[in-house]
């Protein structure tokens, strides 16, 4: 009796959460096909493929924007996690003078107002000739991503007892074997979560990309924001869906990956 009530409650909660997530997406989908949708009509009066035809046409630049966004986000993810691993390890396992200062410095890019920081960074990047290139955009995306990946991985390292590594080493494992068979499997869920975070932060950057990329590096958000104020709801909706779709995919893959790992831990 009690169980069935709980089941019902869980089901309702599940449906509610699913609804909250899908309703906005459903509305965007309707808008992207709508041709004229005025109050008080509940549904668009007529339908059109205009927005999607535009999105898939070469003049919209969505294809190249997608490739650029994806490439940049993947490189940023790789570098941000790579930079964070040693830093997180040091922060979690070692006490050293000025540690809180280092933490503050690390958080500073996230704490300062984005626009002010971006303008300052732009001036610096111009001086060093780093603007108007993909490499410059990758570098600037690392500024908001590295603090997150480092702090998340520091959490993972903190839960991991360094003695496990020492134990493995007393049993004769090489540094690399310890890393591959002991440390990495334990940290994997944390690394996956940090990577998803880094990917999503880079994927959604607009201002930094526009400033540092100088209009030469055209990612999806740059294309989308140009439409935001135009009043063309259908194209805006279609572009938003194109921008959101990969993030949902990344999230689904990551959640499966995370679940797989936690299961493995329980069984092992």
């Amino acid at each position: 009796m009690n169980g069935s009530i709980r089941k019902l409650r869980n089901l309702t909660a599940g449906l509610g959460i699913a609804g909250l997530a899908t309703v906005p997406l459903g509305l965007l989908l309707l808008w992207s096909f709508a041709r004229g949708w005025y109050w008080p009509a509940l549904l668009p009066r007529s339908w059109s493929l205009r927005a999607w035809e535009y999105v898939f046409s070469s003049s919209s630049g969505v294809g190249t924007g997608l490739v650029t966004s994806l490439g940049i986000a993947l490189i940023v993810t790789l570098v941000a996690v790579g930079m964070a691993l040693p830093a997180a390890r040091a922060l979690a396992w070692h006490d050293f003078p000025g540690k809180s200062g280092v933490l503050l410095l690390l958080l500073l890019p996230v704490l300062s107002p984005p626009l002010a920081a971006a303008m300052g960074v732009h001036a610096l990047f111009v001086r060093y000739g780093l603007t108007d290139s993909v490499a410059g955009v990758v570098l600037v995306h690392l500024i908001p991503t590295v603090p997150y990946t480092t702090l998340m991985l520091a959490g993972s390292f903190a839960r991991f007892d360094p003695d496990y590594e020492a134990q493995a080493r007393t049993l004769g494992a090489s540094t690399f074997a310890v890393w591959r068979t002991v440390t990495l499997p334990f940290l994997a869920p944390g690394i996956a979560a940090a990577a998803v975070f880094a990917f999503l932060i880079s994927w959604s950057q607009y201002l930094l990309t526009l400033l540092i990329g100088g209009g030469q590096v055209i990612t999806l958000p740059v294309l989308l924001v140009a439409f935001q104020r135009s009043g063309d709801e259908s194209v805006t909706a279609a572009l938003t869906l194109v921008l959101v779709a990969p993030t949902i995919l990344v999230f689904l893959v990551a959640s499966r990956f995370l679940r797989g790992f936690s299961g493995q831990h329980k069984n092992g």
Partner: protein
């Protein structure tokens, strides 16, 4: 790999990345000084432009416009001049102006990533004051003579002095739905009466939005008497005389606006939405063809029409400028002159429905006939109707002051 060597590897790769993009690009032959341009025959400029790439920073929030510029215009430039046009999209011109100001501050005086930019008004004033524009040049472009003299003198009161080339033309219009409002109020005073008789059915975007700001400037010109007087720099006495009744008028209609004037739509987009949702009875825009375009896209009902005030509506030109650190100046000059040609503008008006900007009397008979024959959307007013109701844009200093007074004395007034 140990974490230490991993870290070293990433430091190294970052160094490599930064070195790779720190490489100075080789100087291009397309760069020349305004003095050199003065001495160079136009034919030589065209030759220098052959085979180059021009980066054009353009507001890219209009699907039809993007299609047209990325497609037919790009092909034409390739075919006719051997130029590759690359569109640099932006959402607001101020983004590009800020980028240039930053680059100036950091000493990046050449190899800029933008060769020409679509600009006008306050952004032009900011850019010109910040000395981030290349020039003077515009009076030397062959096609500039097709535009009326007045269009080449001032932009929102700021003297142009050759730092931007006149391109397109826009004029403020209001939209209404014949099915709902058979007789729209066609003057500032008639609007006051109408708004009071129909509480909650009118509003305007909150300045400093571009469209909301031009709406309240119409009230200022109405009470200022002679619109030409607002052209020559800021005159405190003139402003005081006009601003008093202007703010009184706006406060007078405020309680009868949508939501009792307690809040305003932030953008023309929101205004359009209120209008299509039948919450209000008027929309407004700087684009005389906006209502026809919305009808075609199915966003406005087919019964929507536009009108101008009997005392006239404010019109302005928009321009093309060259950044001080542009890489390909001869290319930019070539593209500009093409975009300013009768051939291009006739086609652009046909494709995008833009208002034809040239002084018609300066065209040859064939071109004049072509302009007359341009198709118009169902909601678009005729060129004669628009030009006979044209008011000049007041100096940008009036705009700043009126926006500030509106915020303090209309918006915040309980």
């Amino acid at each position: 790999m140990s974490p230490h060597s991993l870290f070293r590897f990433f430091l190294l790769s970052l160094l490599v990345i930064s070195l790779a993009c720190g490489q100075p690009k080789p100087p291009t032959p397309g760069r020349l000084s305004p003095q050199e341009f003065e001495r160079t025959p136009w034919e030589t400029i065209l030759q220098q432009a052959q085979g180059t790439t021009v980066n054009f920073a353009m507001w890219a929030g209009d699907e039809a416009r993007n299609r047209y510029f990325q497609g037919p215009v790009t092909e034409k430039l390739k075919q006719q001049y051997g130029i590759t046009l690359k569109i640099v999209p932006y959402n607001d011109t101020i983004e590009i102006v800020n980028k240039l100001l930053n680059e100036k501050g950091a000493g990046k005086t050449s190899n800029g990533s933008v060769d020409m930019v679509w600009i006008n008004g306050e952004n032009f004033r900011t850019a010109k004051q910040g000395a981030v524009l290349w020039g003077p040049f515009s009076e030397r472009l062959p096609n500039v003579r097709l535009y009326p003299e007045a269009a080449r003198q001032r932009d929102f009161g700021t003297p142009i002095e050759g730092y931007e080339a006149v391109w397109q033309y826009a004029q403020f219009v209001l939209a209404y739905d014949m099915a709902r409002t058979p007789e729209p109020p066609k003057s500032i005073e008639a609007l006051r009466t109408w708004v009071k008789a129909h509480p909650g059915r009118f509003t305007y975007p909150a300045p400093p939005d571009f469209t909301g700001s031009v709406f309240i400037r119409h009230v200022l010109l109405h009470f200022g008497g002679n619109p030409q007087a607002f052209q020559n720099g800021f005159d405190e006495a003139l402003y005081q005389k006009a601003a008093g009744p202007t703010l009184d008028y706006l406060n007078d209609i405020k309680p009868f606006l949508w939501k009792q004037g307690e809040t305003f739509p932030a953008t023309p987009k929101e205004l359009d939405r209120l209008f299509t949702n039948q919450e209000i009875d008027f929309s407004m825009s700087y684009g005389p063809t906006f209502a026809s375009q919305r009808i075609e896209r199915g966003e406005f009902p087919p019964t929507v029409r536009t009108f101008v005030f009997d005392e006239g509506t404010i019109g302005n030109y928009n321009f093309l400028a060259i950044p001080f650190n542009a890489t390909n100046i001869s290319g930019a000059l070539t593209v500009m002159n093409h975009l300013m040609s009768a051939e291009h503008l006739l086609e652009q008006s046909r494709v995008l429905g833009s208002t034809y900007p040239h002084d018609i009397s300066r065209l040859d008979a064939g071109q004049q006939a072509a302009v007359e024959a341009l198709p118009r959307g169902p909601a678009t007013l005729s060129p004669t109707e628009l030009s006979s109701h044209l008011l000049p844009e007041p100096d940008a200093a009036y705009l700043d002051r009126l926006e500030k007074d509106w915020r303090e004395k209309v918006l915040r007034k309980p």
